[in-house]
């Protein structure tokens, strides 16, 4: 699809290894170029600013997900059947099923258990004192989510790697996506096996799904994709936010002190972490009918890239966007998306991240960086893969 002659273009590959490790300068240039910027390498219109990202997310009739939210046609075809990749009635039905166990109300009964697990994780880390923050960040999501989804014990150690692969293949068809394809298919095969053998844990969300299929409310063939909906987006994302929180508080001791002095800031601190280091950088939408965004005409069939991570750093929306400050009201950040497809798991994610921060604030005096952090390479997820820290007990 040729671009409109008036639309500025940005030639560098925002999915190169260099861009993934340091995306924000690229996003700043995109925002500078305009509200709609053509990316010739990927054949999409990038939306780098807050206002357009939000408007597009709220207009799900024009900007659709059913033909995929990734950047390569293969994955966009393969991932049909998930909540993420559907529109209208199909989406509403799946969303209701997937979301009802994830709402804050449904999670209330879990709160105590999650907080206890968070406390145990922090106690164990304090006993070691010198730690990799990524191990601490990984512990709670991998303890909580697989049980909730009802994933059988076998293959649990693969879940993180499968999750990362499933995200990688949503990027453009680059080397990273190609390398992840086999692992991405592995998770689908496993989910089908779990549904066929009914090997989900009793009382879990997966068990609920199979029950809904027994009652004829959904087709049995839909179950594997919905199981993946629960599992894949729920580990890496939350892990990313917890690791980024540790990193940001280690490098901003004044902010850590603010949090210790007033733990009431914790819920907003979660919003600010997700704003500042958005775990999910971008997803796309397909334009269903001729339309325009910020005065730029877009033809039906073209694709737009919603850059959550750039919208969250847009100076037109945020004062000092590149400053990490847990006192700013960050609740309108777009890191969980917005509208119809707004993250179904954000209640759970908030519960996990807040529990970790609460446990840390109560037990840790200072978080001290002890080495260079390393960011991982993934087409979709921004997350640390190494974070050397010393935890000084309170």
């Amino acid at each position: 699809m040729p671009r409109h002659p008036d639309v500025p273009a940005y030639v560098p590959d925002i999915y190169s290894a260099q861009s993934i490790l340091d995306p924000y300068p690229h996003y700043a240039e995109l925002r500078q170029l305009g509200p709609v910027v053509w990316l010739p390498k990927h054949g999409v219109y990038a939306l780098p600013r807050y206002a357009e990202c939000k408007a597009v997310l709220l207009d799900d009739k024009t900007f659709t997900s059913g033909e995929g939210v990734g950047l390569n046609p293969v994955t966009n075809r393969l991932s049909r059947g998930t909540t993420l990749n559907s529109d209208g009635e199909d989406h509403a039905g799946r969303r209701a099923l997937v979301a009802h166990r994830l709402t804050p109300r449904a999670l209330r009964t879990m709160t105590e258990a999650v907080e206890r697990q968070a406390a145990e994780i922090v106690d164990a880390a304090l006993a070691r004192r010198d730690v990799d923050g990524v191990d601490i960040a990984e512990a709670l999501p991998t303890a909580v989510v697989p049980d909730l989804v009802g994933w059988p014990q076998e293959h649990r150690k693969n879940l993180l790697s499968w999750g990362a692969a499933t995200f990688d293949v949503l990027g453009p068809l680059n080397g990273r996506a190609a390398a992840a394809t086999l692992r991405g298919l592995g998770v689908m095969r496993f989910a089908r096996g779990v549904v066929r053998r009914r090997s989900v844990l009793p009382g879990s969300m997966g068990d609920d799904l199979l029950g809904a299929a027994d009652e004829g409310r959904i087709a049995r063939s839909e179950c594997p994709a919905l199981m993946i909906d629960y599992l894949v987006p729920s580990l890496d994302t939350t892990l990313s936010a917890i690791a980024s929180a540790l990193h940001l508080f280690a490098t901003h001791p004044g902010q850590w002190q603010l949090l210790k002095d007033d733990p009431g800031l914790i819920p907003n601190a979660v919003n600010e972490v997700v704003r500042y280091e958005s775990p999910l950088r971008a997803f796309s939408r397909k334009v269903a009918k001729d339309t325009e965004v910020a005065g730029t005409a877009l033809r039906a069939g073209s694709r737009v890239l919603v850059l959550y991570a750039s919208a969250n750093r847009d100076a037109l929306e945020w004062e000092d966007p590149d400053t990490f400050d847990i006192r700013r009201d960050a609740s309108r950040q777009l890191g969980f998306g917005r509208g119809t497809h707004g993250c179904a798991g954000q209640g759970l994610a908030r519960l996990e991240i807040q529990s970790m921060l609460r446990a840390l604030v109560a037990r840790v005096e200072k978080i001290v960086p002890t080495g260079e952090p390393e960011w991982g390479l993934n087409n979709i997820i921004r997350r640390l893969q190494r974070l050397p820290l010393e935890l000084v007990p309170a």
């Binding site: 979301a99 709402t103 109300r105 609740s331 917005r338």
Partner: protein, 66 residues
């Protein structure tokens, strides 16, 4: 200003009540309660109410144009 609430959509994330506690509340089932149901938002709460509409993560709140 009047606000419409899509109860089928609300998942009880509670961000609205955080922004505008005088306009929105959550009931025991964590469903949103619009405290001026059927009426208009008083002027002193307008800014907070708009902010609440703005943060609802699933867009269950809408400002009506009259």
């Amino acid at each position: 200003m009047r606000i419409s609430v899509d109860h089928a959509r609300c998942e009880g994330h509670g961000l609205c009540a955080g922004q505008a506690p005088d306009v929105f509340d959550l009931d025991d089932d964590a469903q949103v309660v619009y405290l001026f149901e059927g009426g208009t938002v008083p002027p002193e709460h307008l800014a907070a109410a708009r902010a609440a509409v703005n943060v609802c993560p699933v867009a269950a709140l809408r400002e009506l144009q009259h």
